[in-house]
Amino acid sequence: MNFIRFINGSIKLILKGSNAYYAWLFFLIVLVVWGAFGYADQLNEGLITTNMRDSVSWAFYIGNFTFLVGIAAAAIMLVIPAYIYNWKPIKEIVIFGELLAVCAVIMCIAFIVVDIGNPLRFWHMLPLVGTMNFPYSMLSWDFFFLLAYLIINLTVVTHLLYCIFYKKPYNKKMAQIIVLISIPMAVGIHTVTAFLYNALPARPFWNSALLAPRFLASAFCSGPAILIILFQILRKITKFEIQDKAIWTIAELMVYSMFIYLFFTIAELFKEFYSGTEHLLYWKYLLFGIGDSKEIVPYSWSSITMGFIAFVLFLIPKTRKNFVTLNIGAVLIYASVYVEKGIALIIPGFTPDVLGQIYVYTPSITEIRTAAMIFSLGFLLFTFLVKIAIAIVFENYRISDISKKEKHLIREIPTT
């Protein structure tokens, strides 16, 4: 019963807001509807409405999935510096990191669901009712890890908010232990996702031991980028207190990750280009195109350019500590990693295909619409969760607030 009241209180919170809040919701809902009609076409006619074909059998959807696993992982890994540097608003940082992780994981699962040919048969993948190919298939590992990660984070964050809402002391020890478990889990989900591609000898582009480390490094660039911006917004519109120093420390950590990512990529490129085996073809397709097939080249170079500018902006202390340039850098690195994971990671793995044929892939409008649907649903969910968390954590929204209103309502009913 108490929990239902908590849910009720939360629902009341998300229904009320400023005009800007409603405008934002309206914008997201329009996108959801526009995307949903695209997805409906795909459900009716099959994945033929995408531009994927036998040669390039995975593409934009699975790329988005990979990107979001990175976001989910990085959101929690950010808890580590909060512990190490003993930042004051650690509880708040944990809560918002976990909310981001929860939303990102849900979006990940949504991207898998839209990518499979028979979404209704999803239950075949579950243990007991289905025939999960565990431990052999990396996809079942990934699914299993993501689900566990979702449950862990959802539990902690709900428990924390629930306790604050009821002015109860939360189970500090349990919360701390679960948060500490979720940190290696965060590394785990992204590593397993990398292994998903990594363990396929048929695809030399992915069959490099550096793939998992590169995944983690790039996630540590894109995930904190969202949180940096979110913390600044929260600081402006709520009582959330975070010192500039903490944000700069996050930015500093991002520079390290960017550097590590750059180093790993250069190591990979050196090996490929210097040895110049037939495996070089995939990198050639990505960076320069093969023959007349250059459609993917603008994607890769825009990702590289954005990433490089962000790296410079974050590297120079003066631009790192200036919030305008810092935010530009954060947006650029986010976009750079998005294009890298969404397109540049997946497509060259399939082009040329295993028999040497080139099928030029770029996302179809259905794919873009479906992705827009999932992203706006994810943002919608994230907006709601953040709104609830802000009210409970910073604005002292408590059980007493709704009980008062309920009494008020009861008194009102007979008169109307």
Binding site: E45, G46, L47, I48, T50, M52, R53, D54, S55, S57, W58, I112, D115, I116, G117, N118, L120, R121, F122, H124, M125, G130, T131, M132, N133, Y136, S137, M138, L139, S140, F143, L196, Y197, A199, L200, P201, A202, R203, E278, L281, G349, F350, P352, D353, V354, L355, G356, Q357
Partner: protein, 296 residues
């Protein structure tokens, strides 16, 4: 007590309502049965029989034709293997279309289980310089040779390992098959296959009714639906009855050989003994049962 009752009636109502909704959406019991049908390998013989009976009825309704659906298991002491004579193949693609006819592959969108690659003689087997869309007046073209590729029926298949739901597996006679009712369509197997042998039904498959082959195997050439993966099965519906795969029968130059590896008198054993064979991408350790050789 009272509250309990209302809860129970609520549950009852809701289940009635959902049943009504199911019937309203045209979901009959058979479709529901099909939805809850388990992985083929976990079914008892009786269950398989029932499913096949239902399937034959369903095909009759859908295509207006009598289908014979078989679930004939592998024969004892049989391990199939294939050999293809590269020096004979002229790249006519007769095998491609015989395969399409025999195995009810979708005509639109077009699915071909066999891909014939045109290669340059000077470069040898070099996929990067091969062409699958060659289209001259006459084959063979000067300076080229042809390499047909279909499922290599690997001894250590990658595709079955990665399947998250065990919808694809290797049968005792070496054929790698798919349960089309269990495949979720994630296409991980397609990413894992080094030979491009797996094909996805991107749209609803279309086969003209008069061209349907009604002699089908449950794990082979029965009609598929959209959203599942399919592949060459060495014509499982034929070879388990002692016939040759249809690509072997159609080949006008006799480049295709097929037989039982465990039979010392078989043609395939003769080829392994007397010709020098090669397999594709041997560095990946997939250990194909599909050999290539130069007969002349």
């Amino acid at each position: 007590m009272k509250q309990n009752k209302t809860r129970r009636s609520f549950l009852k109502n809701i289940s009635l309502a959902s049943m009504a909704a199911l019937t309203a959406t045209g979901c009959n019991m058979k479709e529901l049965d099909e939805f809850f049908q388990r992985n083929f390998r976990t079914l008892s013989d009786k269950e398989k029989e029932d499913i096949i009976k239902n399937l034959e009825q369903k095909y009759k309704q859908k295509y207006n034709k009598e289908f014979q659906v078989s679930a004939q298991p592998a024969m004892e002491q049989v391990e199939f293997a294939y050999a293809l004579d590269l020096s004979r193949c002229v790249g006519c693609r007769k095998c491609v279309y015989a395969c399409v006819d025999e195995n009810n592959q979708s005509r639109s969108p077009q699915i071909h289980w066999i891909q014939v690659l045109q290669m340059e003689k000077e470069k040898g087997i070099d996929f990067a310089h091969s062409d699958v869309h060659y289209n001259p007046e006459k084959v063979p073209e000067k300076g080229h040779f042809y390499l047909p590729v279909a499922c290599q029926q690997c001894r250590t298949p990658q595709c079955t390992t990665v399947c998250p739901v065990k919808a694809t597996w290797q049968e005792p006679d070496g054929i790698v098959v798919i349960d089309y009712n269990w495949c979720i369509g994630c296409r991980y197997c397609m990413a894992a296959c080094p030979y491009g042998a797996r094909h996805f039904n991107w749209g609803e498959p279309e086969v003209p009714e008069e061209e349907l082959n009604t002699d089908v195997h449950y794990l082979g050439n029965r009609p598929r639906v959209k959203g599942v993966v399919e592949k060459c099965t060495f014509c499982i519906q034929r070879v388990r009855k002692g016939k040759y795969p249809s690509c072997v029968e159609i080949c006008p130059v006799g480049a295709r050989k097929f037989g039982n590896l465990l039979d010392p008198e078989s043609e395939i054993r003769y080829i392994l003994e007397n010709k020098r064979v090669l397999v594709l991408k041997e560095e990946l350790n997939t250990q194909p049962r599909f050999y290539y050789f130069f007969g002349v």
